[in-house]
Symmetry: C2
Subunit: 75 residues, 2 copies
């Protein structure tokens, strides 16, 4: 599984657990909703600054968002 796919799944799961819509995450991060959608589908080669922005918005360390076992941990 590629890093961008791990990141994609983890941010989608975390966002859903927090009860955030893509719109809400977009608002908090100052990114576009459709951009968030494409990141969550692993379509974007996101930059480290954007990743950090998303991690701050979700209040989850970037190390966790890149950990392939993270989403399962708290099922």
């Amino acid at each position: 599984m590629k890093a961008r796919d791990v990141f994609a799944v983890n941010i989608r799961c975390t966002r859903l657990k927090l009860g955030y819509s893509q719109e809400r995450l977009a608002e908090v991060t100052n990114l576009h909703r459709t951009y968030i959608g494409s990141v969550e589908r692993g379509e974007r080669n996101v930059t480290i600054d954007v990743m950090e922005k998303i991690s701050l918005a979700l209040k989850i360390p970037l190390t966790k968002l890149l950990d392939k076992d993270y989403s399962n941990e708290n099922e």
Copy 2:
């Protein structure tokens, strides 16, 4: 400390511990030596695909390369 600075310090330290020159890391990753230099100075907003490439070349998981305590761990 910003994520890109944590990444910068960790890849420089790991590279030096492995005894790799910037040239060698550049060769293995198919990136330019001056690009590696600027990443190691935290000047680049690197993408997740490049980060993954570097992590594979250094044989260190991306989660470690983004962990601010990583470089100190194995002093």
